[in-house]
Symmetry: C2
Subunit: 316 residues, 2 copies
Amino acid sequence: MPTTTALRLPSASPAPAPLLVVGSVAFDDIETPFGQGRRILGGSASYASLAASYFAPVRLVGIVGHDFSAADRERFLRRGIDLTGLQTDLSGPTFFWAGRYHDNFNRRDTLATELNVFAQFRPELPPAWRQTPLVLLANIGTDLQHHVLDQVEGRPFVVADTMNLWINLMPDLLRRLLPRVHLLVLNEEEAAQFTGEPNPWLAGERLRAMGVPSVIVKMGSHGALLLHPEGRFALPAYPVTDVRDPTGAGDAFAGALAGYLAATGSTGLPALRQGMVYATAAASFTVEAFSCERLEAAGPDGLAARHAELLRLVAV
Amino acid sequence: MPTTTALRLPSASPAPAPLLVVGSVAFDDIETPFGQGRRILGGSASYASLAASYFAPVRLVGIVGHDFSAADRERFLRRGIDLTGLQTDLSGPTFFWAGRYHDNFNRRDTLATELNVFAQFRPELPPAWRQTPLVLLANIGTDLQHHVLDQVEGRPFVVADTMNLWINLMPDLLRRLLPRVHLLVLNEEEAAQFTGEPNPWLAGERLRAMGVPSVIVKMGSHGALLLHPEGRFALPAYPVTDVRDPTGAGDAFAGALAGYLAATGSTGLPALRQGMVYATAAASFTVEAFSCERLEAAGPDGLAARHAELLRLVAV
């Protein structure tokens, strides 16, 4: 990774550990009250790996189809992301999703989901990547997340994201995933849906009781909560005032957080707190434009500036 | 005020300035999914003055009827609250409100509002109280809030609360109140309703543009935001996991905050941040029981403990 594209973290190790990101790469059609995007780059692994690339060398595992161009690949390569694990399946197009946001972004309708080549996706880790010390299971089917963990070697720290779809479709697989994961990241509604507990702190405790040591409950514009074996942490959101497209905010949050942990080589409470501040900054850029545009344009200086602003905002 | 009932604040002046609290004193019938309370002590001035009494000597201005007993008065006197300004009108009963909470407290129906002696209430400040340096206009009609400010002397720091009722009934009076107030405290929905701006930061900026230097936007279980001439601040809520009755949480918040400002003699950004942490602690006790019971039982040590816990929770 070109060092000029990474943040200079006071706490970073001289040679940051790489981060393995497994998730979806997609093209999205998105309509919001403020505009629309057609066939724009999306998918959980896209947002997560671009956000993570500000912190650590990223190894991306995913699948794309015949319509994924050299220019599309270049967006990842420009940020030093290793695409050795990005399978190309020429038998069909890339995963496609179309959605529409309403009512000041409080409601989202899915207009189309075309799995395309993603339907046959089985994430296979290149042999040299099996020992990656930090693994982010970005938002994909829980069965695929298990399949990734079946291949990893050593004892990596595993961060997992999920969504309502998998909670509905494969709750048992998700329950079995929790003891294999060190940090689960999910949003307030998903935590309530999976545990039956509307209070996010209590929902987080229930998830911890199911075997995952740490849980982050995201609450969108209301911030995020962390339950960790060493203690708890609550962080307000960055005060975004111009939301254009909320797609990918959670993926960017998870990516920046996992990238920060890889960069610092620490997964203690202080590292998770700092990582959440960077994750919040990454999410704030993501929602200010369609696709990954603002996230890519922010640069290390942009992220560092919002990190500093957030620290000032929450300091008592 | 007996010093044993007040918090020992490191930043408190040796003789804390008194705080004038003007608002309603009421009896409430309240039903929640978890129980009910009958003819329990309520009203904005009750919650606010009891919360404030942990920090500074409180001067209460309000009105009660023939049914307000010596035992009711004793609850205030026990906390050192000066009731010289509490009018007793023997011609009728005390202000009565009945309400029911539904759906995990997200919705509230008013079942009855009987103004009783409150209908004739004109808050009159005892002459010796007109110079009080800190004034809290707790939640009452905006016309009455103006009437209080017409009587104050010197240049007190004025904190004002309001609610949707007054925003609907007397928006022009509220607009004219803002330049007479130094700090407005209101919740997210009220800020959106009054300004037409759903984003709480932008709504706060609009309110500041109308002439009030500082604004706190409360977001219930999602915390509170401060916009102040010296900067901004965002604070998560205390992680309450056992809400019994949310009535009065906002009043207790405003009371503890104003009391803290009186106690420290400071209204700068650092004092407001600390005051919001105490205010959040006071609100958290308030919602854990009907009426003011937990707020009264918490004691200075209880408040100090939650203040410390909140500081640990938000420290990055």
